[in-house]
């Protein structure tokens, strides 16, 4: 994984659950960041069994090891037919890598595909040189040196008169203002340019203080650019210790040196963008971080200040005497309530007592009346039971000498002396029979 991928990945919490789409987007990001520009891909063409009438061309590239990669060429079907390309043909495809999100698959998006031995774009001479260089492994991607992300000194091999020179410088400086360029001037056109170019590349490489070297010129005819198809120049570039970016002509132009350089930029402007890519992003990141920490700090301070102000503005801090005054008032209130409560309480007690007293009195009176009525009844009853009452009405009672009342004749045989009790006084009587 590249540094960038590691960085991106490290940002994520390992507990995060990813969706497939997120993984696809993540891969897309990584691929775009790590393979930002176009490059040549060579391999054996494997056509899909059913090549439909789709104008877009879908196929696979395979190499000797059997590794394959899907290749897409939008609107390429017609050109493929025109070139009569068949499965097994060796081709060069120019394009960039991308992720096909719906399937999360890596694919090569071709801008053009040409026969590795096609004469229409590569001359026989260049084809032979390229085949030789490729056979020696000089075109292997594994040989390509990484481009330093934050270059400070940039070597340039070009003509000070070339349009590409100005384009490159100004694009670089517009994206990152402080860079040192070291120019090794050279002709960039015609056969005479070749030794000068070789000389300039070697000189800059030996100078050794540049982080990378850009070999560039603007667009021109195939003859104008021919010097860049020179095999010895290509070998010099391949052998350089410093990473070399080639940016020759326009998008349609491909020269031999583009196959052996560390990176092939399509135009001088694109080369400048690639060179300053990370510097540009880092500057922006730094500016944004500076802004963000300043804001965060300001917020923190403001937050603390507000809290402090709120705390300080509390009444007992601003008016401490008020607290004493408050308590005094409360105390006075309590006292007042206490004093006014006492008589009131006594009154309540007194009236309760009165009520109880009254109830007691009421109770006693009614009890007495009840008793007296009962007494009267009893007296009446008693009066009716008094034998003397009967005597008063004219009856009498006979008592024997033992004072027992005589209730039947057998109790008093003839001759018995009795006492007759009358209403008033008594009589001594004797029983005759």
């Amino acid at each position: 994984m590249s540094d960038l991928a590691v960085q991106l990945f490290a940002k994520h919490d390992p507990r995060t659950v990813w969706t497939v789409t997120e993984v696809a987007n993540y891969l897309t990001q990584v691929v775009h960041a790590d393979f930002p520009n176009y490059f040549w891909l060579c391999g054996e063409l494997v056509l899909n069994e059913k090549q439909s009438n789709n104008p877009h061309f879908y196929a696979t590239l395979r190499d000797e090891t059997g590794s394959t990669i899907p290749v897409v060429w939008f609107n390429g079907t017609a050109r493929i037919r025109q070139m009569d390309l068949k499965s097994g043909d060796r081709v060069f495809a120019y394009g960039h890598l991308d992720i096909y999100s719906p399937r999360c698959t890596l694919q090569f998006m071709a801008q053009k595909i040409q026969r590795a031995d096609g004469e229409e774009t590569l001359t026989e001479l260049m084809r032979r040189s390229l085949a030789k260089l490729a056979a020696e492994g000089l075109t292997d991607p594994s040989r390509k040196k990484p481009i330093p992300p934050f270059p400070q000194r940039i070597g340039i091999v070009t003509s000070p008169d070339a349009a590409g020179y100005r384009d490159f410088l100004h694009t670089c400086l517009s994206r990152f203002p402080r860079l040192t360029f070291v120019l090794a001037p050279s002709k960039v056109q015609g056969n005479a340019a070749v030794p000068e170019l070789i000389q300039a590349v070697k000189m800059l490489d030996e100078y050794g203080k540049c982080d990378l070297i850009v070999v560039t010129r603007g667009g021109g005819s195939i003859t104008d650019l021919w010097c860049f198809n020179d095999e010895s120049l290509a070998r010099t570039i391949a052998a350089a210790k410093t990473p070399i970016i080639t940016a020759i002509g326009h998008e349609r132009d491909t020269t031999l040196v583009d196959y052996v350089s560390a990176l092939n930029a399509i135009t001088p402007t694109i080369a400048a963008e690639i060179v300053t890519h990370n510097l540009f992003l880092a500057t922006q990141a730094l500016e944004s971080y500076a802004c963000r920490i300043a804001n965060a700090m300001q917020w923190l301070r403001q937050n603390r200040r507000l809290r402090l102000e709120k705390a300080l503005s509390a009444q007992h801090l601003t008016h401490p005497l008020q607290l004493v005054a408050d308590r005094k008032t409360r105390l006075a209130n309590d006292e007042l309530r206490l004093y006014s409560a006492l008589p009131h309480r006594a009154e309540i007690l007194r009236s309760t007592l009165d009520i109880l007293w009254q109830r007691l009195l009421d109770r006693q009176t009614s009890d007495l009346e009840h008793a007296s009525a009962q007494l009267k009844t009893l007296q009446t009853a008693l009066r009716t039971l008094d034998p003397k009452g009967v005597l008063k009405r004219g009856y009498s009672i006979l008592l024997d000498e033992q004072q027992h009342a005589i209730r039947q004749p057998a109790e008093a045989p003839a001759g018995t002396k009795l006492t007759a009790l009358l209403g008033r006084g008594k009589l001594k009587v004797t029983v005759d029979e």
Binding site: D3, Q7, F150, Q152, R153, G155, P160, Y165, R166, L169, H170, L173, F176, P177, R178, L179, T180, F181, V182, L183, A184, P185, Q199, M203, L204, E206, Y207, L279, A282, T283, A285, L286, Y289, A290, R292, I293, A296, M297, W299, L300, N303, R304
Partner: protein, 83 residues
């Protein structure tokens, strides 16, 4: 005192700075630690800027004096658009 920053690489410094930004933005740090983090963040930012803008804006012309020797001399920037 904040840790020494001079030995850090640009990438490490940038990563630390990023961490500090996130910490500060979360608002969870006590004020004293925030101040320290802020101080370090400023220091890291300065370091990163210094590392980035180490170079001067200039063009040097590289010429060979002899087989062994090359020399550089500053030359002016070309005018952007001559037309």
């Amino acid at each position: 005192m904040p840790e020494n920053t001079s030995n850090l690489t640009f990438d490490d410094a940038l990563q630390q700075l990023e961490g500090i930004v996130q910490q500060l933005e979360s608002g969870k740090l006590p004020l004293e630690e925030s101040m320290k983090a802020f101080e370090r963040g400023v220091q890291l930012g300065k370091l990163c800027n210094e590392k980035l803008t180490n170079a001067e804006k200039k063009i040097e012309l590289l010429t060979r004096q002899s087989d062994e020797e090359v020399s550089t001399q500053e030359i002016p920037f070309p005018v952007n658009n001559p037309n």
